[in-house]
Subunit: 336 residues, 2 copies
Amino acid sequence: MHRGNVSGPLTIQAQGSFAVGGTVLKTPGSYDNNKPAAAGQSFHGDHLYAFYQVPQNPKALPIVMLHGAFQSARSWESTSDGREGFQTLFLRRGFPVYLVDQPRRGRAGNSTIATTIEPTPNDQLFFDQFRIGKWPSYFDNVQFDRKPETLEQFFRSVTPNTGPYDAAVISDAMSALFAKTGPAILFTHSQGGGPGWLTAIRSPNVKAIVAFEPGSGFIFPQGELPPAMPSAAGTLAPEAVSQAEFEKLTRIPIVIYYGDNFPVEPTPERGQDNWRVRLAMARLWVDAVNRHGGDARLVHLPEIGVRGNTHFLMSDLNNVEIAELVSKFLAEKKLD
Amino acid sequence: MHRGNVSGPLTIQAQGSFAVGGTVLKTPGSYDNNKPAAAGQSFHGDHLYAFYQVPQNPKALPIVMLHGAFQSARSWESTSDGREGFQTLFLRRGFPVYLVDQPRRGRAGNSTIATTIEPTPNDQLFFDQFRIGKWPSYFDNVQFDRKPETLEQFFRSVTPNTGPYDAAVISDAMSALFAKTGPAILFTHSQGGGPGWLTAIRSPNVKAIVAFEPGSGFIFPQGELPPAMPSAAGTLAPEAVSQAEFEKLTRIPIVIYYGDNFPVEPTPERGQDNWRVRLAMARLWVDAVNRHGGDARLVHLPEIGVRGNTHFLMSDLNNVEIAELVSKFLAEKKLD
């Protein structure tokens, strides 16, 4: 049951949770306490939920971790095979850690906009798209445990949107979170990449971004947008922001990591081609940030000899090695 | 930010999260990796999500905490005014603690049955029904901090069902959780009371139940059902189980707590009358358990001089006092 206790006990100075950001809807009329209806009542929604832990003798900058699509803060907790995820690994490295459920997801489920949720069968698509393999085969070198119960845990880490996905709503709440945490480092995963850039534009408290396989929301300055990139998984289009907004991204160090098992040339394999264009767009994005005087870097892990990573780098079998790469980056940038 | 560090550091031996229970839906047909559709794909849903922490030198029996309606594991974390909730208070008391998001709620959002979620304004109803006061006035003695940001946190702890509420689905997943934890103590809140009794019937690993203001699912043996109880908040009806099932509840110690600010005589005040009938039904329930040879007890807190508690006893200003009552109960039953 309690695996992963490989590094001895963990001493926590404080832990807890809260909501931040969001809006309030109000229905006109007066509230009748004994015949309650919508009239005169309010609804709090579109906030995010955060769980924080502060270790003893903490480093100065906390790390805020934002999950990707179909996921929650669960992404950063235990790995699917039950080892320690980045929440606990970075606590052990001395950082206060904040895990977010973004607005309209997980425990931050109250959405100001209605939605319908259906049990959509996506397991096999996720297996392919998140590069565990090509269903039903695992990639030979994949850093994913092959016990059936591990795959089951992976599939059960999925949780739906409880309202329409809206990067602006997410980055509004994330900015409110950074106002509360003070200066901090932002980790994003996948779909979280886009709202992550927007949060750094909005909040001067974002002191660095570590983006794991950003999947959408690649923003470029007006007039500098590269062409959209077609792929077997659809077309990836860049998005425009103002020059002034874009240049806020040049104030902080940024590193982007992508894993293994997708080609740099087009392939009809949908699950892999999806990442070919994302890697290519991310390279252009890094170039754009640096052209404007920024400090961005892209690490395609196979190029440095780190093989077999899925889309969930922070949960892979070599996640301690990935954490070590991140730690070295943070040390180099004097953020630890 | 980091309040509640009143008791010194907390040493954690292991922490993490997982899913347990649930079912798998499968769509007939064959999956085409490069043209993915529903055909041949599966969907994992109706599991629960649990986050666990094990302190150093833990007591033998973990505590599993199950939230109520419109809530998630969030209920047991920080209080709305930012103090330590029962998760951390009972970790400090040496218990491994498991916090649950029940199936179709929070991070266990994948439901096998579709639903529509709408932003339903309920804040004022919750204020009344959870006995913070009679909107917009607080009860004079209420154990709830009056800062506006505290009420805002309370309202933002609400999160919707992502599928139809189903006590059987919940108790199935809870039974699977207790199979995994081994013998353990169950804490339930409000709507969690009903699935809690069902879990104890299903799983011999439930060694005691501490129920905070159970709100529904009062089960009686066939032929021994008391009359339904009308109230200003609707009618509360008992539910039937077999004699054999009911008698499984007589194997374990059970304690039920109810708070303050509702009368024992009928009142037109909806938010209070709701609890009048629940207290009355719970008394009949405790009598039935004990009549069958069980060990159940009901504590109406004002009767022992503990005043001002809302429906969220575990988060109230006097939550350390409530924790102390629970600890004494567990010690008396040799469960600590």
